[in-house]
Structures are given as structure tokens and as C-alpha cells.
Amino acid sequence: MSEMSPATGPDAPRGPMTLECRNVSLRFGGVTALADVSLSILSGGITAIMGPNGAGKTTLLNCMTGMMSRYEGSIRLDDVVIDGMAPRRRTQAGLVRTFQMTRVFASLSIEENIFLAGSAVRQVLTQDRCSEVIELIRLQHMRHRSASELSGGQRRLLEIGMCIAQAPRFLMMDEPFAGLNPMMVSTVCELMADFARSGAGVVLVSHEIPLVRRHADRVVVMAQGAVLADGVPEQVLSDPRVAEIYLGGSVARH
């Protein structure tokens, strides 16, 4: 691996940046998916978002990346309002995400996937950078294999690689550990940590409490579309209300 820190692409992000949600609400018919969420995420660290199923974690990611655009309130990237921006523009502005159900281009090879993702946002990716990313995700032995032939875990790594190739300011990962074997989990953790250290922001949606405790700098717990607790992992994860959620009790909003 090169001496460069892994995230340092041609356009490595510099200085702290903020991704800010101000009073974001979203309703589907009568169901409230997000209720007045205000959240400011700083780059340079890993922010974990936790909460029971249906708490609105993925919906929040969808709003931030522009896949859902009919929310109320506003989302800002470094004080620039990005509400009207299409997902493509937000990706180019540096908001990049992975999906719970991995989405890669099935008929392209690993290397082509990485190359395409990297070249779609800025200038054409260099061959060196492309190989570097493939080494980071530890798939160099099968770089020409088409994505449709990969296992679920390898596909997940590929998707993360594609995101890294885009040198984002904020990398949002939706359940990145689901279906990964322990070795891949440690690869992803390493990638995440290196990435955050390089100055970019990582938003991690996950249920894996031990991993979150070990890696996250900050934990945000959501329930029923609202932020329930927010703070450093030890403090938040020992909060009795949070414990109640993970024990399965329903928590009345207050």
C-alpha cells in the first residue's frame, strides 16, 4: 500500500466540513418517517446512526443523498443548501452512499465498476488510483471478474470501493456489515477508520453495537423518526432509554 492515506485521492477533502440537517421532516401519507430531525455532522470522524427498524435511519440517508426530495426543512453541506439538488449533483458535491441491498453494475468487472464510479464525479480516474482502491478493498486477485460473479460480501466491498474511488466528503454506509465474514468486517472497519482519519466524514448506519462502540466517535440514536440520544458512544449506549429500545420496548416520544 502506498504511503498516502487511503482516502487521499486527487481531490482529497481538506479541513473540517459539516453536513447539517435542519428540521427535516418527512411523511408518507399518514406515517411520519422523519419528525423534525436536526443534526450536524462534522467530517473527520465516524458518526453512527442507530435505532430500531423503522426508526428512519435509511430514510434520513435517502434525504441527505437526494433520493427522497420531498422532505421539509433543509439540508446543508458546508452551509450551502442542497435541497434542490438531484442525487447526481449531490454525489458530485461529495455526498456518497452505499446501500443496504448492495447495488453495483452487474455486468461490469470490478475494475470497470471502480473506474466508472471514480470517473463519474471528477476527472478520469488514473490507473494507479484505480489499482490502489482495488487493493484497499482486497479484491486485486479478481479485478477482472464481473460483478455478477461475486459473493454478497465481495459485492459489498466493491460498492464501498466505488464510493472511495469517488473521494467523497461524506461517506454514508447503510448496514455495511450485513452478510460479511469476520475478515471482511475488519477490512471495512479499517477502511472506515482510515477514511475518517484522512479528514472525510463517515456516517454509519448499523446495528452492530460492539463495532459501533469500538469505532464510532459519536452515536446518534433514532426512534420513530426523531433523534432520541446523541453523544459519545459510552454515554449514549449506556443511556437507559436507548437500552430499552434495543431490548424491544417501545419508547414514547417526549
Binding site: 453495483v104 453494475f105 464510479a117 477482472h144 469517488q166
Partner: protein
């Protein structure tokens, strides 16, 4: 020839190269037949028609196969280009300008359709193009004063003394240029981007690709190629008629594309050779010809979606593999 970037998978590189050579070989074979005068004057006109269909279908394949926007209007594009080209040359424009004008008008028609139907997908896009094509054809048929109606519009030859051989050479030259350009594009970012959009349009947009732009470009380039074929061919048969834009003509082009292989560069060329050849064999039985063609489409869809070109290339790959294996065994 034409170095591929390193990040392209070897499989794709080999497949594209074989595809390219198959296209070139078929074009060259057709030109040799034409120059040698196989089948006399009739054979020459047959080769010219085949190369015309190959060019027109290549544009359609680019749009419908690679671009994934299944158009039922290639004949209308040909007709528009043919009429514009005929009008322009009749009005005294130099032939090059007339053909260019015809090509651009077809491209414009494609652009308008792409713009208007950017929200439509699959069935709806096909339906919209089908109906738009019918509207244009009916307009051309009915505006007798301008277009000459069913009787058609007469026009001059491409140049003084232009024969079927010359027309064939023009089409062959353009086809080879197109093959080279396509090979370069498909082995680079444009080819990968098109493939990605076909795989998953939604995620392609999220990953930062400008999907509407790419799709519009494909339609415009595809329509231009189809239009060019029409703009030149009208000066070979020296008559523009509404029949050029008929549903039958669309069916013919679609058949060539699908039987040849919509997602291969050589598909249109191989398909044109097959279908025009079959038409010649069954010259006295046109209905049998189209019936068999329809049957062939159904069979291709079921058993060989890569088309006849795909079958040929697959066979070639297997033979090549056998050779490489035996070399390793030594």
C-alpha cells in the same frame, strides 16, 4: 490497433475486438462481391441495398441495443432524411450539403423524440416512437403538393455516373469508420457508462453519471447514422417515397438488428447480409420470407439473445480457447 485502456477487462477487450473484426470482414466481403460483379448488375444492387440496411440498422442498434431505448421509428428517420436530402439537392444544393442536411434533419427528429420522451421507458417509449413515426408518414403521404404523395419525389444521383458499386463503397467506408469509432468508444468510458445505465439506471445516476445526457446523445448519434443511410440511399434509387417510412420498413430493420445481434457492433452488418440474402433466396415468396424472419426473431430471442453475430463470435471464442489450452499443455 487501437490500444484499449488497462482497466477494461480482458474478456470485454477480446469480445469487442472479435466483434470488430467480424464486422470489418463482412463489409470487406460485400465490397469484394460488388467490385467483382458477382451476380451482375442485380448482385451489385443487392449489395448496395444490404450495405444501406446495415448502416441504417447500425444506428438503430446503437439506440435500441446499447442505449436500451427501443425505438419503433427507424423507418421514419430514414424517410425524413431521404426527403430532406432530396429536397435540398433538387433545390440546387451541392450533394454533400444535401446529404449533411438530411442527416442533420434525422438527428434533429431523434433529438426531439428523445427530449419529449425522456420520461418514458420501455413500452411507452416504443409506443410513442411508433405513433410519432405513423404521424410523420401520414403527413408525408397527405401533403401531396410538397412531397408528391404516394407517387414520391424524384431526385438526382449522388454524383454523375454513380453506380451501385460507388454507393456500396460509400456505405462500406462509412461502416468501417463507424466500426472504428464504436470500438474506441465501447472500450472506453462511453461504453462502460452505457453498460452501467443498462444494468441499473437509478444507481448510475446516483453514482454521478448524467443519465439523461448520455441517453439523449445515444439517440442523436443513432438517429444520425440511420438518417445518413437514408440521405445517401435516396440518391441511389433516386426516388423518395412514403413507403420508406412504412411499418414494414421498421419491421425489416428491427429484424436485421435482432437476428444479427442488437448488442454487437457487427450485428447489423451480419444481420443485413442474412436477411437481404434470405430475401433474395425467397425472392418469389416475400410473405414466406417475412414469416421465416419473424420465426427467426422468436428463436433468436429464446436461444441466442446475442444474435447471429453472437453465435459466430461465441464459436470463435471456443475454438480460440481450445488452442490456448493445447498450447499450455505443450
Amino acid at each position: 490497433m487501437l490500444a484499449a485502456p488497462k482497466w477494461i477487462s480482458r474478456r470485454r477487450h477480446l469480445a469487442l475486438r472479435a466483434d470488430f473484426y467480424l464486422g470489418i470482414a463482412t463489409v470487406v466481403a460485400a465490397v469484394v462481391c460488388s467490385l467483382a460483379g458477382v451476380g451482375g448488375a442485380y448482385g451489385i444492387s443487392l449489395v448496395a441495398a444490404g450495405l444501406f440496411y446495415a448502416t441504417a440498422t447500425m444506428g438503430w442498434c446503437l439506440q435500441s441495443g446499447y442505449g436500451g431505448m427501443f425505438s419503433l421509428a427507424p423507418a421514419a428517420i430514414i424517410m425524413i432524411a431521404a426527403y430532406v436530402s432530396a429536397f435540398a439537392s433538387n433545390a440546387g444544393w451541392p450533394m454533400g450539403m444535401a446529404v449533411l442536411g438530411g442527416t442533420l434533419s434525422g438527428a434533429l427528429a431523434g433529438f426531439i423524440v428523445a427530449l419529449a420522451t425522456s420520461r418514458l421507458k420501455g413500452h411507452y417509449f416504443a409506443l410513442a416512437t411508433l405513433v410519432a413515426a405513423e404521424i410523420v408518414r401520414l403527413a408525408v403521404t397527405n401533403e401531396y403538393d410538397v412531397t408528391g404523395g404516394e407517387a414520391g419525389l424524384r431526385t438526382g444521383p449522388l454524383f454523375e455516373g454513380a453506380s451501385g458499386v460507388h454507393i456500396s463503397l460509400v456505405f462500406a467506408g462509412v461502416l468501417i469508420l463507424l466500426l472504428v469509432a464504436l470500438l474506441a468508444a465501447l472500450r472506453g468510458m462511453p461504453g462502460i457508462a452505457m453498460q452501467a445505465i443498462r444494468d441499473d439506471e437509478g444507481i448510475a445516476a446516483i453514482r454521478g453519471l448524467n443519465v439523461p445526457l448520455v441517453k439523449t446523445l445515444i439517440v442523436v448519434v443513432g438517429s444520425s447514422i440511420t438518417a445518413f443511410a437514408g440521405a445517401v440511399y435516396v440518391h441511389y434509387i433516386q426516388l423518395a417515397t412514403p413507403q420508406m417510412g412504412s411499418l414494414f420498413q421498421t419491421t425489416f430493420i428491427m429484424s436485421i438488428g435482432i437476428i444479427g445481434g442488437v448488442r454487437s457492433m457487427s450485428g447489423a452488418i451480419v444481420g443485413a447480409a442474412l436477411i437481404v440474402g434470405l430475401q433474395e433466396v425467397l425472392r418469389d415468396y416475400p410473405f414466406t420470407h417475412m414469416g421465416l424472419t419473424a420465426l427467426a426473431i422468436l428463436l433468436v430471442c429464446q436461444f441466442a439473445p446475442a444474435g447471429f453475430a453472437g453465435l459466430l463470435l461465441g464459436r470463435a471464442r471456443r475454438i480460440q480457447q481450445r488452442f490456448t489450452v493445447s498450447e499450455h499443455a505443450k
